[in-house]
Every structure is written in C-alpha cells, then in structure tokens.
Amino acid sequence: MAFVNFLVYLAIMMGIYGILSLSLNLQYGFTGLANFGQVGFFCLGAYITTIITLTFGLPFILGLIISMVVAGLFGYVIAIPTADLKEDYWAIVTLASAEIVRMFFLNEDWVVGGGVYRGGAFGVGGIPQPLKSYFSAQSYPFFYFMIVLICLIATYLIINKLTRSPYGIVLKSIREGEDRLAQAMGKDVKRFRLKTMAVGGMFGGLAGCLWAHYYGFISPRQFLPLETFIVWAMVIVGGKGNNKGAILGAVIIIIFYHSTRYLKDYIPVEEVTLASLRMVAIGILIVLVMLFMKEGIIKEKKPVY
C-alpha cells in the first residue's frame, strides 16, 4: 500500500508541476518571455489560498479563484515596467520579483494571521483540505488526485486553445520576430506580453493553490528559486512550444526527482549524497536532451493549413 500511496503522491506532483510547466510553456515556449520567476506565482497562489481558507475560513473554491486572480494580476503588474525590454532583462526582473514574493511572506508573518511559531519562517500549517471529511485517510489522496487532474486538463485545454488561435499566432510572432514584425502588423506587442504574463501567472497561482491544500503546510522555504529551474527543466526536456511536451516534461522530471528515494537500495551511496545527486541527474538529462533532441522530446507542432 505504501508504494501505491507513493504513486498517487507522484501523480499529484506531476499534475501540479504539469500546470506550472504548461504555464511557463505559454510564456516562454510560445511567447519567448524568459520568466525566471515562475515560483513567485506558485508561492503567491499557495499563500493567498491559505489566507482565504484558513484566516477567513472561506471555501476552497474561493481560495482557488482568488489565488488565480491575484497571481494573474501580479504577473500583469511585474510585466508593466519590463514589457518593452529584451529577454535577458525579463529573466532578471522575474527572478527578482519571485524573490520579493518569498521575502514578503518570510518577513510579514501577520498576513497569515500571526500567532506563536506561526507565519514567516515557521510556515503555516493546518491548511484545510477540500471535502476531507467525506473520505477516509486512505482514499483521500485519490480524490485529491482527481481534483488536480481536472485542473491539469482544464489548464491544458485552455492554453492549447489559446496557442492555436490568432492570439497564439501573434504570440509566436513576438517570440520569433523581435517585436518588429508584430508591431509592423499593427499588434500592440506590449499588451500581448502583459496579457500572457497574466494568464501564465493565473495558472502558476492555481498550481500553488493545489500544492498548499495538498500539503496542508507551506513555508517560504518551499518556494526557493530552484523550483523555477525545475519547471524550466520540464519545459526544455518535454519540448518548448508543445503543450503535450510540457506535461511529459513534468512527468519525466518528477520521476527523476523522486527516483533517488529508491535508488539507495541499488547503489551503495549514502542517502544524503543521493538526494543531492538528483539535481545532477536532472542536469545531465537537460544536457542530453539539448545535445540529441534540441527541441525537446516532443517537437513543436507544425500547423498545416
């Protein structure tokens, strides 16, 4: 049973990271926005839903919607000063803004209601799990997986629809044309970038919300910049510019990330060392993919008209 539980846990992680990866794929894979602060949206979503459901005692669904809205707004706002800048500046600004979010929740413990050993670096526990009372402790993860799966499918469908629409064609031209082409065709490139950051941010927030309610405990330590790079690895390995690839990337990286747990039985290395080797493993995977499958495992799909 323990192994089944672990598989369900893995599946939930794949779903949550799949949403993050789809969201980054929209921003980076389709629009060319180097968002190095994906974890910022994730963190924001997790904290907002905690405040909504725990501090205010409102239902999960409200926490989910409000965390998406807030994270979306945050994406829009951080894009305003940078929308006209080149890719490398985006990377710096987004990286910094994610750190701002984390630092904010690390230092401002009152936002989660205060209390002794609560908020700030202590984190927040006791985040309610939706409809928990209707399930046994054994069966609840399966139910939660269904929630995550529904969210993942919805995210996939929405982003897929967007990227295949005329809106998506403009995004691609922004990615490829260094702005000039889209501008010459009368497209307000800045607005498209803002909107895309907002939509991507929304889904980042959704992932954060699902994460918080699954773990029941969040702390700023869970939202280090490293998380962003794991999501990047998913997009790069899976295939940027392909939504199925983004999900596949999430699946593969999650498996790699958690495989070390069982590797200790086969390799005579200390557990601590193995744990740090997981990042090495992901690094090697990225290098291999870049060498032999430059466009990722699933290439960007060429639309045929």
Partner: protein, 293 residues
C-alpha cells in the same frame, strides 16, 4: 482582393505616369508629408532635415547611396525610430510621436530591408498574422466567439491562397519561414503586406534577391496596387530599372539630405544625383544595368 490575378493594362508597364488617376480638382492629394526630419545616431547624422511629400495613388521611389538615410527615414515614418526633430504627417495628421503599431493600424504598412521571417512559423502562419483587428486576437473571443474566428480564418485563408499564387510561394505554404531563401523571404514579406492591406505601403528593397522573371511580376503587382486598388507606395530600391519603370516621382537622399526630386527621367539627368550617387561610374551603367546579373 483583386491583386493576384487579372490583366494588366497594356502600356502600363512602360509608362505608368499616364495611368494615374487624378482627383476631382485635377490636383493630387498629399498622403504623406515629411517635414524637416532629423535623426542622428551618436555622431552620425542619418537625417539632416529631410522634407518631401508622397501623393495619393502614386509610386514614389526613395533612392540614394548606402548610408544615405533611406532606411532611417522609413524607420522614423513607421515609428520604429523616434525622431530628433521635424514632423511626419499622414493624411494631415501628425504621426511623429505614435508607436509603430499605432502607425501600422492607422494605415501605413511596411516591409523590412532584411526580411523578417519568423523561423518557427509556417508561411501560412506568417500570413495569418497580417489581417488587422482579428476577432481571435482577444483572449475572451478565443473562448466565446469560436465560430466567428473560424469563419474569419476561412476567409483569410482564401485571400492567402491568392497572394501566395501571386508571389509563387504556394508550394511552400506549410514550410517554416526559417527554411526559405533570402529572396523567398522578401516575397513572403510582400505577401504579408498585401494581406495587411494598408493605404500607404513602405517597401524596403522589395526586389533585392528576387529572380529577374519574378521581379517583373512584382513590378506589375505593385503597379496594380496603385492603379486598381488606389494604394500609395513609397519604396526604397537599388534596382534602377525598377525605379525608372514604375515610379511617378523619385526622391534622392545623400548623407541625410534630399539632393533631388523629380520624375525618373529628370533624376537620370540631374548632375548632382550622378555625382553623389554614382561616385564615378557612368550614368549609362546605373540606369541600364541588367536586373538580375
């Protein structure tokens, strides 16, 4: 759209000036007016007080040696560079401080000297980018006006077929633009601008790198744009045969200054132009060189 096919009036190609249509008053209206334009890059004065006008339904050529300010002039008119001084008027409105996309939406379309061809977008996708104000460009509409978007896309695809036949790129329709040759990219950008359908079209070296037979077709297509669809065209071009064949008026720039203006014939005989432009080589060579070789 009727540019793709249809007969060209015989004689048009030889003397386009005869086919101009004049408006009621017998005078041609001014579409674009550039007044005393200045632009410098560091120590280089790219434009040092350039003024000229472009009349409605005309083809105006902008020529000059390399570095004379032609492309800078295009970039300032289309808003990609901010001007240091002077003003640009389009249909009587000041447009000098507008953003590129606003100018484009206002009716000035342009191509680029080095043709923009998004690598990972197919030829058709490139052209689907062109139509203005598409319903599907808004996120809300993508989810709630699906049928309208489908219908629009269907119409665009029909027009795209026409234009692709014109520029002879139909066999490459589902190829990535990044795999096209330089000349084909030029054709693609011309096709894109045809679909974008602006009132004033700025063409930056439309025939550079295009094979001679196709140049003839392009020249005819450009003429038809003026004659049949009432478009106004301003073009930068180094191919003097093209210039003297289709331009109603030619403006000559040198070192950021306008040194001459007139019909292609007048320009050919202008001593100043010959001096600046040819820098030694004979006039005969310039105006009668073969297009392709």
């Amino acid at each position: 759209m009727s540019i793709a096919k249809g007969p060209v009036a015989p004689g048009n190609a030889g003397s386009p000036a005869c086919s101009r249509q004049e408006n009621g008053t017998g005078r041609r209206q001014i579409m674009l007016k550039v007044v005393d334009l200045y632009k410098s890059f560091g120590g280089i004065q790219a434009l040092a007080g350039v003024s000229f006008t472009v009349e409605k339904q005309s083809i105006t050529g902008l020529i000059g040696p390399n570095g004379s300010g032609k492309s800078t002039c295009f970039n300032v008119i289309s808003g990609f560079y901010s001007k240091d001084g002077g003003e640009v008027y389009f249909e009587g409105q000041k447009i000098g401080n507008l953003k590129p996309f606003e100018i484009a939406r206002g009716g000035i379309g342009r191509t680029f000297q080095i043709a923009e061809a998004p690598e990972k977008m197919t030829v058709v996708e490139n052209l689907l980018l062109a139509p203005k104000d598409q319903t599907g460009e808004k996120i809300f509409n993508v989810f709630f006006k699906g049928t309208k978007i489908k219908q629009e896309t269907g119409e665009f695809l029909k027009k795209i077929d026409e234009v692709l036949n014109l520029v002879q790129l139909n066999h490459l329709r589902n190829e990535y633009a990044g795999n096209l040759s330089g000349g084909q990219r030029k054709l693609l950008s011309l096709a894109r601008i045809l679909l974008f359908d602006p009132d004033l079209i700025l063409l930056d070296e439309p025939t550079a790198g295009v094979n001679p037979t196709l140049i003839n077709d392009l020249v005819e297509a450009i003429q038809r744009l003026r004659d049949e669809r009432g478009k106004t065209i301003l073009l930068v071009e180094h191919n003097m045969r093209v210039i003297s064949r289709i331009c109603d008026k030619v403006i000559v720039l040198d070192s950021g200054i306008k040194i001459a203006e007139g019909t292609p014939k007048e320009i050919q005989n202008n001593e100043k132009v010959l001096e600046a432009y040819l820098s030694g080589s004979s006039k005969k060579q310039l105006f009668h060189e073969d297009t392709g070789s």
